[in-house]
Subunit: 241 residues, 2 copies
């Protein structure tokens, strides 16, 4: 029965990469490794922490991914002079966003047309002049109150199934996510003055500031859809980093 690999009082005491991460981040934030500091090489850290280089490598790589360290072969690992900072925003479908806030979601299709794409849309999606598109205007509500106005265009050449959908019960957002889940997206945020539509449906005074998101989606290089989302007055996008 001499099969115990460790002392009986220490069931497991190997150094984990999370411990290494925590310790190194601590040294950085508390100032002992200030901006610009050259860290010991991986082999040296492995010796200090009593683990393999693999573990140190994993820890340093993850810290580097956070934008705190700068790693280069031969040059070594340095604390960045200024951290590379990025804000990350979850982009859920509207329904999930509303339900996560504890409100009841409801959806209304306001209009639905199939027509030839207007010039500005052809330009943005690089469509031929005579491209046929679905145009939808929908309203998403939280607890009955207008939350987001959706102005959606779908390229029928790339997604002919969209022509058969009425989008009365299920919104185009959810339908698209289920139909074309792994697409490429470009998104932009801006402040705009409320147009007549937004004023009428979101309760903005006409000309009032509206938070607007515009999203264009491609799949396998083909343009799928373009959407303009106007949020209700007072909407904020918040995150921390």
């Amino acid at each position: 029965m001499a099969s115990e690999p460790r002392a009986a009082s220490a069931p497991k005491d190997r150094t984990t990469f999370r411990e290494v991460m925590a310790e190194i981040r601590h040294r950085i934030t508390e100032g002992s490794w200030g901006p610009g500091t050259l860290l010991p090489a991986e082999v040296a850290l492995a010796r200090e922490f009593g683990c393999t280089r693999t573990t140190i490598n994993r820890a340093l790589r993850e810290i580097s991914d956070l934008g705190i360290l700068d790693r280069r072969r031969k040059a070594g690992t340095r604390v960045r002079l200024a951290p590379r900072r990025e804000a990350r925003f979850e982009m859920p479908i509207v329904r999930a966003e509303i339900e996560k806030a504890g409100a009841t979601y409801s959806y209304t299709r306001l209009s639905h047309d199939i027509l030839t794409a207007p010039d500005w849309l052809c330009e943005r999606l690089r469509l031929p002049d005579d491209a046929q598109v679905v145009h939808l205007i929908c309203l998403h509500r939280a607890n009955g109150a207008p939350f987001q106005l959706e102005d959606r265009w779908i390229n029928l050449a790339a997604l002919p199934e969209a022509g058969a959908e009425a989008f009365v019960l299920v919104g185009p957002n959810e339908w698209l996510v289920a139909t074309v889940p792994y697409s490429e997206v470009e998104i932009s945020f801006q402040a705009e003055a409320a147009d007549a539509l937004a004023a009428a449906h979101l309760g903005h005074p006409s000309g009032a500031p509206v938070f607007v998101a515009e999203r264009t989606t491609w799949w396998k290089g083909a343009p799928i859809t373009h959407v303009r989302l106007c949020y209700r007055p007072g909407h904020r996008m918040t995150t921390h980093y």
Copy 2:
């Protein structure tokens, strides 16, 4: 001399985790592994790809980090029904943002005061009623044209050095990044109507929509600074994912 580990014609042909990643992502986006599909276990994939489980693990972990796969012990690895999507915005200092666009950056301090924090600020930063703060208003220009108006508050109790700084040549943003590089940040974006100050300095008509970012920063749990950034008309934040 029988020390050759590989055939002479193949200098290196080990499977890399990037190759595995690419192939698996391909199978997902091209539809052969649709949403909800249960992937083979790591050992099976290792056999298929002719590499170790470690390599497969790395590949799957990175794809999972992208929000495409869902991994659980015993349950296995599945293609998410809807991808977890997040938009990432780089948050550089204004000067870098302007210079990256190829424009010339310039900075003006418009006002500088040391005073007792107003109530709303005490509430937001959880400061005592009599807290002393630095209040700055600054303008950042691109090629001479107003780009961003900065309305900054700094907590002197947490950062007494700020009291000795005039912020005439170097903006508070850059000074803070150099002084307190690794802090925690909460940021929010919204659309607001231009107030008198924004109208005067950014060329907005009064009441016009302005894109506003608000950022609050802590260091070791102590509130450091709060800033409100108003952008020039037409500003957009764009990214893709």
